[in-house]
Symmetry: C2
Subunit: 245 residues, 2 copies
């Protein structure tokens, strides 16, 4: 029973202040994971106020790259600093976390298609460790180095590890409808459109809609919830919005 | 024309003093690489006084592993600290270095056979970056986490990247014979045995002999030389010992 837990960058950092960890939030999340004692767990975290500041400064996005090694390193090093804080918080609570830095393992081809070999993650999981991945810089054929988001990693891990459950912990308590109420369940594209107020004939765009569409295709149930739902998710419940295509 | 350059841990660190970089030696090496302007270059460095201290403390070797996440992280983090110093020295001289941390990408199966997917390294090379790898901890099926040496990485890279030249810069000026003279060329196993004073009927063991045997099998000429030979190697000459099977 493999579980993937995504901790949003906005959950564990103060997104408005450069390279600032939200330590109480991070420690609460780490304690919840330590107390739950979930086996076969992989954690992915976002960039928050670490990766994004540096990516913006250098004009690097998921599609616009850089050939400047200093810029690539600035983004990657910032993410390793945040990852170090995450590992410290979980490690202090004896969650057997070890880091997997996506820049070392991932690559995009000319079409942007991601390669993310999982040999290390699979072996570490099987040996009882909790691999922790994160949004990162990524080698990109023709573009130099672009950005790989935590969400894209989650989708890839879910497929590659044949995950049983996926939890996406962000700052909102679930997928919200146009009245700001949590949508309890989403099973298909029409549900998203209805919930997010888009008609079937128009493009559903924007962060949450894109995220939900990706989660619909996982082949495993995904749960989108806020920090207050983390404990429930880890104990097998369905906080926030359940997304199952 | 792909070149792989290994910088021995004993070259760039003070091996007797815990986590101490030999900064003059590191800067000399970085300047030589910057001045040579070699294209399609991959650098690998050893652990020196970083990795080895932590590996020894936790009783971890290439075959004896640990399931203690704190121990795995102690070894890996030490190597990332050394790697950071190496990247700083080269980056300050505008060599477009970026780090590849083997722990994130490599794994050993139950028999110890190494998997080291090279998607990231190949893409970065092709985009004009200089990937820098290093000896590291590695996930190992059944053992938890063991050690992956820089030498093993060199052998794997040479095959996987179809390298044209391999340079191994250590603290000795080449493979030494029993009179401590540099052996100019080694073409087969008998040459090693003769040079290192072992009879054909006995096992050739020991660090240098094992290293030379691995280099004989590369499929590319390898050069073993001391720091004073680095400039010559980078300009296409054959300092120290040339090993070509």
């Amino acid at each position: 029973m493999t579980t993937i837990l995504k901790l949003g960058g906005s959950v564990i950092t103060d997104k408005g202040r450069r390279e600032t960890v939200d330590l109480p939030a991070l420690e609460t999340a780490a304690s919840a994971v330590a107390d739950a004692g979930v086996e076969d767990l992989v954690i992915v975290h976002g960039g928050g106020s670490y990766g994004h500041f540096h990516a913006d400064e250098h004009g690097v996005s998921t599609t616009e790259g850089t050939h400047d090694a200093h810029a690539a390193r600035a983004i990657h090093d910032a993410m390793k600093r945040l990852n170090g804080h995450v590992l410290d918080a979980f490690g202090q609570r004896d969650v057997p976390v070890v880091p997997i830095h996506p820049f070392s393992v991932a690559a995009r081809d000319e079409t942007g298609t991601l390669s993310l070999p999982l040999d290390s993650v699979r072996t570490l999981l099987h040996e009882g460790f909790v691999p922790v991945l994160h949004g990162d810089a990524v080698a990109h054929a023709g573009e130099g180095v672009t950005i790989l988001s935590g969400d894209e990693i989650v989708v890839r891990l879910a497929a590659g590890l044949d995950a049983d459950r996926v939890g996406v912990c962000s700052t909102v308590p679930g997928v919200l409808d146009t009245n700001d109420d949590v949508v309890p369940e989403i099973q298909n594209f029409e549900d998203i459109a209805a919930a997010l107020g888009a008609s079937e004939s128009t493009d559903v765009t924007g962060g949450m809609a894109a995220k939900v569409r990706a989660l619909l295709d996982l082949g495993a149930p995904a749960h989108v919830f806020g920090p207050e739902g983390l404990e429930a998710f880890l104990s097998g419940e369905s906080p926030g919005t359940k997304i199952e295509g």
